[in-house]
């Protein structure tokens, strides 16, 4: 084994450890801010794995989209909604935690078992390195043209929907009758649900 290979192996091991411990931290830590920052670290480490696979464009895109956009957005949401609220203790939380841990461990065992029994087609296709950017572009404008164009509609609609849900100016009158309205469901409820109960009590 020469130095290049062992460097690669060491890099892979370090990145994998970061990814695994980081994601465990994201799920298990009770401080949500730490979870969010760790998530950023996990995304970075995944970008590092892409780099190891010689997919530098995908790695940079991963950093730009996941760290630069998604994770910053998550952090924003957490920091802007910094509402300290004592939640009621949930009954049987410990048992639930144990149960879900058991299910997850079972799933993990299943995945590992399947992974080991599958005859993988190794080695996979060789990386095309620097040409990847061009190749991705060609794919996007040939066989993945339809999903690519549809994604633009998806984003447009998500943006419009987000603005509609978030904007402050509400229509206060019925367009047809001119009566004032409250922007709620027309079917009024008789027994208040969770959120109402908390605000009234």
């Amino acid at each position: 084994m020469n130095i290049a290979n062992s460097t690669e192996l060491i890099c892979f091991l370090v990145l994998s450890i970061i990814v695994i411990t980081g994601s465990l931290g994201v799920v298990l830590l009770s401080n949500i801010v730490y979870s969010a920052f760790l998530l950023g670290g996990v995304f970075m480490a995944v970008a590092g794995l892409y780099l190891l696979l010689n997919a530098s464009f995908v790695a940079a895109a991963q950093v730009l989209v996941y760290v630069g956009a998604v994770n910053v957005l998550i952090l924003f949401a957490i920091m802007l909604v910094n509402k300290k609220e004592e939640l009621k203790p949930i009954k049987g939380l410990q048992i639930r935690k144990v149960l879900s841990a058991g299910v997850c461990a079972g799933l993990l065992a299943l995945l590992i078992r399947v992974d080991l029994t599958t005859p993988w087609n190794l080695p996979g296709p060789s990386a095309i390195g620097e040409k990847a950017t061009e190749r991705i572009g060609e794919h996007l404008f040939t066989d993945y043209l339809l999903p690519f164009e549809l994604a633009s509609i998806l984003l447009l609609m998500a943006m419009i929907g987000a603005i509609v849900l978030a904007r402050r100016d509400v229509l206060v009158n019925d367009v047809g009758t001119g009566e004032s309205v409250d922007q709620g469901l027309i079917e009024k409820t008789t027994n208040p649900i969770l959120i109402d109960k908390r605000s009234t009590s």
Binding site: T117, I160, E187
Partner: protein, 510 residues
């Protein structure tokens, strides 16, 4: 991969998505009109959407039995199956829009954006029906899902609506993530994203990994069609979402889910035929049982219809599990029938909500004296949902059970028959509530029932939709022959299904 100079001359065969293109134009049109203000939007969004969806339906009609060429280099295929499901979806959106306007205006929500988002959901659902590539499947599925999340939270001042949207979003995202995991496994096994090519690769090497991918993909499909035990989101989301949105979710979104099921399970997991049929049998039995039994105990009309829709999805699954010519045809037929009867029922309960502001079943007591139209319409639609002759639902259900019996799916048919009887009980109890009660027993809501008038903007389309659905439900059963032919030719014009049917025939002989 073609060389760059050849890329310009690719034959995309983009005409196959012309109906979606028209829907997209209508969506953009409503958005542009909306810029002129709420009044203009309320006036112009309806005609634009009708025009778009109507044109889309006409274009779909022209595509029927057309030449079968894959479009967008294998991302999309407009076979008759896809056309039939796309038509069901477009029609369900059209009717959902007709019954939406008054509801949206009376709750003070922006109408233009509502129509635009619903049209975007339609676009996603329609493309999902014809997608033959994992990437297009995922993107169109997400378009449908994200639009659905937005729509279910559309009454933003109402905590129930926000709660519904949040629940739907969280569960839906989890389902999408599971689907992605499954899809990535499929890609890893086969090295391609084309469903047909994956299917071939799976036949060559049916590994345990592929079985795992099947389970993951199946979970997402089950989530989309709300099959038990992936149904937990349904009652809460249906109760909290605006009622017209529920109407769309229960028909359009579900039809898209079934189209996805056919595309992926039959087109791609043919090698795991017995396995997925077994899983789907379990899902169908659980859905029919739980949906119909829990619906008995509901006091809210929307919630009852939510559980009933879970049960109905279980019936449709019988057709899918059969995998025979009759099975697929009965599935398509029942989806079409379900479209009219369910949307008819929703039109009635929306009208009742608009007039009274309630959806409790007990509030319907004695309604026949104050509002015969709602009483008649709702009764007919519920009877049809329960499968009482001579409504359209009866013929749909009979055809499903017939196909199931012919394919020796005795368990499914027996469970279906028993749960149908249970469902008739709760459908009839609503009708009894409306019709049988004496005037002095009528509910407070009905006693203070407002004067019936149809002049307010948004009510005339609601009336049209209601009458159309009820008439089709009532008369469609007797005149259902064209529908049968349509469903059969949908199956006959789909090479994918024909292959499977031929294979199944060989198996049973051999």
């Amino acid at each position: 991969m073609a060389a760059p100079e050849n890329l310009i001359n690719l034959s995309l065969n983009a005409a196959a998505v012309a109906p979606e293109g028209v829907v997209l134009l209508a969506m953009l049109g409503t958005l542009i009109v909306d810029l002129a203000g709420e009044k203009a939007a309320a006036k112009w969004s309806p005609p634009i959407s009708y025009l778009g969806l109507g044109t889309a339906l006409i274009l779909l009609g022209f595509q029927w039995n057309g030449p079968l060429e894959p479009s967008f280099l294998g991302s999309f295929l407009a076979d008759n199956l896809a056309i039939a499901f796309r038509a069901v979806i477009a029609l369900s959106t059209l009717i959902s829009l007709l019954i939406s306007w008054r509801y949206a205006e009376q709750s003070g929500s922006p109408v233009g954006e509502y129509a635009a988002i619903l049209l975007a959901a339609t676009l996603g659902a329609m493309l999902l029906c014809g997608s033959t590539d994992l990437v297009s499947v995922f993107v169109s599925l997400e378009t449908l899902s994200v639009a659905s999340y937005l729509l279910s939270g559309y009454m933003k001042r109402d905590a129930r609506s926000s709660e519904a949207a949040l629940k739907y979003l969280l569960v839906g995202s989890a389902a999408a993530a599971v689907f992605l995991y499954g899809a990535s496994l499929l890609y890893g096994i086969s090295g391609t994203t084309n469903l047909e090519a994956i299917g071939i690769a799976l036949i060559d090497s049916p590994t345990p990994l592929a079985a795992l991918a099947l389970v993951f993909v199946l979970a997402t499909v089950a989530f989309k069609i709300a099959a038990v035990p992936f149904h937990q989101w349904t009652p809460d989301v249906y109760e909290g979402s605006p009622t017209p949105v529920v109407a769309f979710l229960s028909v359009g979104s579900k039809a898209a889910g079934f189209a996805l099921a056919v595309r992926i399970l039959i087109g791609c997991f043919d090698a795991f035929d017995t396995q997925w049929k077994l899983l789907f049998t379990v899902l169908a039995v659980l859905s029919m049982t739980l949906g119909n039994v829990v619906a008995l105990a509901q006091t809210s009309m929307k919630r009852m219809l939510a559980y009933s829709s879970i049960g109905q999805a279980g019936f449709v699954m019988i057709g899918l599990v059969c995998g025979t010519e009759d099975g697929f045809a009965s599935m398509i037929l029942y989806m079409a029938a379900y479209l009219f009867m369910n949307l008819g029922a929703f039109a009635c309960i929306i009208l009742f909500s608009i007039r009274t502001g309630s959806d409790r079943i007990s509030d319907y007591a004695g309604l026949y004296q104050k509002d015969p139209l709602i009483t008649l319409g709702l009764s007919l639609c519920l009877l049809s949902l329960g499968g009482i002759p001579p409504m359209i639902g009866f013929f749909g259900k009979i055809y499903l059970f017939f196909a199931g019996w012919a394919d020796k799916q005795y368990l499914l048919v027996v469970v279906g028959l028993i749960t149908s009887v249970i469902s008739i009980y709760y459908y009839i109890s609503v009708i009894k509530m409306m019709v049988v009660k004496e005037p002095q027993e009528a509910s407070e809501v009905v006693n203070s029932y407002p004067l019936i008038q149809w002049k307010t903007i948004g009510l005339p389309p609601l009336r049209i939709a209601l009458v159309t659905c009820v008439v089709v439900t009532a008369v469609g059963g007797i005149l259902s022959n064209p529908l049968f032919q349509w469903a059969n030719s949908a199956v006959a014009g789909t090479p994918l299904l024909q292959q499977v049917i031929a294979l199944a025939g060989e198996r049973s002989i051999g």
